[in-house]
Symmetry: C2
Subunit: 588 residues, 2 copies
């Protein structure tokens, strides 16, 4: 009983009415990316997701991936191979990749929108090209010409896929502990070590897999400054099988259709990407896009959860409205009449549409930071992207999960059964909060790194951009509310910076609630802006009255629901580290 229609109206309203994403086409490198092209690509992505990916999502969960120890091979679920062929033939894998190697060079923002639809309909499937995209990005930025020519065309065409091999049993967050070794062999390097949680490390979708592997050279410095990055293909250019083998699959709570592999590199041939000992830097240059992409996963799942639970709430007849029977010809009223069901639905709606606005706004600046003609705008946009990346990743994945949780709850027992897709959404949605840097690590990135860069310039840019966005907002209630979010955030930041300068543990203790304050503030400003946009004369021509009034009502609900939490978060930040750090280990 799965159900998904790409929310094109919401996406269009956001892109072309609210955020004026049309400005992307003013960048020289994106001159083809007109509104018409955006719309055409989005329509095709909607069809592909609804008609190709959604139908194989449940099967992917139930069947999972199968590992054959005799051949070290992995079979993906029935239907995935065909879906991948369709994906490849549709040209989706090269959407935002470099035209120099066969890509279409379209904006990241457009790719984000396509990714949202893919994640809404089949997150497990989306992981394979998703990781490939990371490898493409990394190779495009840091690979030698020889490696680029040998690998990028096939990767971009989707004929081959890529992986990112970072984690080892003894190191996840702390990559300084990596034990995988790279020994020079004249031509390149022999790579030896075990990597875990490698998405798509082995699978049957494509003929060759290109692993990007973090490892240490023999004379490498200790810790994270001694890590290098290597390209290790499954098959070498002469067709020989390289000694990089899948040793097994993880058994997980969700994303069962995605092959999460243990990878054993047994003196596998590899080639250096970038400079020796600069591997982490190479890896991290593509982290912003990758982390924003993980945020989009949370958003995509939440959208489907909302659509399914909303349809259920309109159909399921149970009890009468407390205000008096609304559907006298039915045996009971649909549960959407009940205030507590509305509470669950509107939490989803306010967060999903607000989060989408935050993500697309960040995506817009990601493109402007690369493509804008004016260097000061590029810098300004880059500030926003740097600051917002951990926020988009954490908030969208946390709230994506909790949104699916509310969807499930509003459906009662039905939601807990596998007759409906929501329990899978909740299971699949549990992992984006963890991978690509746990949400706690994102919060530390925000307070420990992003807020301190360039003497705090990023937060300054952010706050001025928030105020800019409120210009022209006519509803005085929304304006006052959004400004109160900004002021609360600004005060909290001011106090925290003083404390953290004396004691970095204070920043670490405040990281998670502070990240949430940034997110709630961004949503507040964007809700004020969306509500205001719904009264614009030109906009009013293009959407139904219910669609437009819904924006204003959802903004009202957002402010009503989250202003109190914003104050509470400020108090939590102000409360500081003491009650956390007072505990000795034996007092837990």
């Amino acid at each position: 009983m799965s159900h998904y229609k790409a929310p094109l109206d919401n996406m269009n309203f956001l892109l072309f009415d609210t955020l004026k994403a049309n400005q992307i086409a003013e960048c020289e490198r994106f001159e083809d990316a007109t509104e018409d092209l955006f719309r055409a690509v989005m329509d095709e992505a909607a069809k592909f997701s609804e008609q190709v990916l959604l139908p194989v999502n449940t099967q992917g969960d139930r069947e999972g991936c199968q590992y054959d120890p005799a051949t070290h091979s992995v079979k993906t679920p029935d239907g995935f191979k065909d879906a991948y062929q369709t994906y490849m033939q549709g040209g989706w894998s090269g959407l935002s990749a470099s035209p120099d190697f066969g890509g279409q060079g379209l904006p990241h923002l457009l790719k984000m929108i396509v990714d949202e639809m893919v994640c809404s309909t089949n997150l497990s499937f989306g992981m394979y090209p998703g990781l490939s995209h990371g490898a493409i990005d990394c190779l495009t930025k840091h690979g030698s010409e020889a490696l680029q020519n040998a690998y990028l065309p096939k990767l971009i065409a989707g004929e081959w896929t890529g992986t990112m091999c970072l984690t080892e049993p003894q190191c996840g967050t702390d990559l300084g502990l990596i034990g995988t070794k790279a020994i020079p062999n004249g031509d390149g390097y022999d790579i030896t070590g075990t990597k875990i949680w490698i998405t798509g490390g082995e699978q049957d979708l494509v003929d060759n897999i290109v692993h990007l592997v973090l490892a240490k050279l023999p004379d490498a410095p200790e810790g994270s400054r001694g890590i290098s990055l290597f390209l290790v293909p499954k098959f070498l250019e002469d067709g020989t099988r390289n000694t990089a083998f899948c040793g097994g699959l993880e058994h997980k709570m969700g994303i069962n259709g995605s092959a999460t592999c243990v990878m054993n590199f047994e003196g596998a041939k590899g080639w250096l990407i970038g400079e020796p000992n600069k591997g982490l830097k190479c890896m991290f240059t593509m982290m912003n896009a990758a982390r924003i992409m993980v945020g989009i996963q949370g958003l995509g799942l939440a959208e489907t959860g909302y659509q399914v639970s909303l349809a259920f709430a309109k159909e399921r007849l149970q009890s009468r409205s407390i205000a008096g029977t609304e559907y006298p010809n039915e045996k009971a009223d649909p549960i959407i009449v009940h205030p507590d069901v509305r509470r669950m639905l509107l939490r989803q709606k306010a967060i999903i549409e607000g989060s989408r606005a935050m993500a697309y706004w960040t995506g817009l600046h990601l493109d402007l930071s690369h493509g804008h003609a004016d260097s000061s705008q590029r810098e300004r946009s880059d500030d926003i992207v740097q600051l917002m990346t951990p926020i988009v990743k954490s908030f969208l994945t946390d709230e994506g999960f909790f949104s699916c949780d509310q969807a499930l709850q509003s459906m009662g027992g039905a939601g807990f059964t596998q007759d409906w897709p929501v329990e899978q959404l909740l299971r699949d949605g549990r992992i984006p909060r963890i991978y690509e840097g746990t949400n706690g690590i994102q919060a530390l990135d925000l307070v420990g790194r992003k807020l301190t860069l360039n003497n705090g310039r990023l937060a300054h840019t952010y706050l001025s951009e928030m105020k800019n966005m409120l210009e022209g907002v006519s509803n005085s209630g929304h304006l006052a509310s959004a400004n109160s979010f900004i002021e609360t955030l600004q005060e909290t930041l001011g106090l925290l910076i003083i404390k953290a300068a004396k004691d970095p543990q204070e920043a670490a203790a405040a990281a998670t609630p502070l990240l949430r304050m940034f997110a709630l503030t961004t949503l507040a400003v964007l809700w004020a802006k969306m509500a205001s946009q719904s009264e614009d004369a030109e906009t009013m021509n293009n959407y139904s009255e219910a669609f437009l009034s819904s924006k204003r009502k959802t903004a009202n609900h957002y402010f009503r629901s989250y202003e109190p939490e914003m104050i509470a978060l400020a108090k939590e930040v102000a409360a500081g580290k003491s009650t956390l750090m007072d505990f000795a280990e034996d007092e837990f």
Copy 2:
């Protein structure tokens, strides 16, 4: 890598130091239930749970239950049958049941404690005797002498089990829509209809299953006032197979070891329990105990999640403390040094220990409401039980889930894999928030029924009891904080009662946040009391210094974390229904 030790120190501190549960033995019917007996039973329950139930919990999840359509039979997971034999032989099934039919007549509070350990180690297993207990309770209160004599001894001995058959495809919350029919047949009734989500409706643990079935008599009034309750055994007294058959199993997100059955009654022989058309009343007299028991499920799961994630946080070495290396001889510090990991652990600890205090306090009053010599104390205790039942059910199951969620998050990728037990705890923990009345329905029970009973007497009793509990609390900070929770709750109640009198939708819109305010207030008072108790001279003789100081530090952390949320909830209640009810259906 599962791990559980019954938290006996915490339980003892709560029972015998803080709540003075010894007073139960002053009730004539519980005169055997001395502290020594409590401790002896708890020690045995700990051994049984740790050694018998925990080892078969993972297998139960992976294997699940198997249905054979040819014979309508259900096979439980390997190991469940043996575990059930041990449970039965240990006399656990009759712990709190009536001695008139072979039970041990011990307090409900003691049963709750045993149930907590059972749910911590194997929720799926615990569902079978848990539902049996409900049937025993109902039959003891409402069955005819003949039915009691025929069924109670076997049920109480655990040789047979019982079920509760309420839900049908078209009715869950709204039982007025029941379609199952009961036609008089001279001896008893022929029952025909389909019931769904029947826990243990069919299984291979015991020889006979006794179904309690809600159905309608031919001349029954419309709606919920026309429902009667029937006893329908799988095998009749002469050994004939009754025509009550399992038609299949639900496929669920969790509790896979628990058989959730579709039950088809095909003219099955049944006998009336209680009076015609009073079936719902019979069912609801045992609802308080059943709902509190579901709350305990959430608590039990959370305790195991905490123990597993705490052990992980002490062992997993990753990165150095931001305040400087703490374990120079290790390659990294254990992650428990990091403030953000502590935030996740302490949320669990503060909520689990506080919730346990709330549940046991309610359980104590459940026993006093039945057994106390003084009728005014019985009434007072009954007020507390009535009011607290929906609160214990909702808060403990919601927070049990979110506590397991924090456990999983603090473990990173490991938590998402099936190598660790936490992902199962989270999946199993999703359903207690739904069954036995969804948590939204509990909140409506609180505002719509419990707060209006006897002119609001229940809330009055509750508030005066909260203030009583604060007598003797010496820490002025804790006292002021706990009092501020009480005052905030009291003000919010005062305002809401005025609004709700004019518009019942206002009460319904406020139900969920208001329920949470009651829970947070109760925990505040109990944390103040536990912290205070930790400085009592006699108490100090019996526990380690770390255990006692931990109580005070956790109380500090509780107040620091939840005072801001309490204010936010009050604002949410005050904001009222408008932003929820303004939406037309096409505006969602």
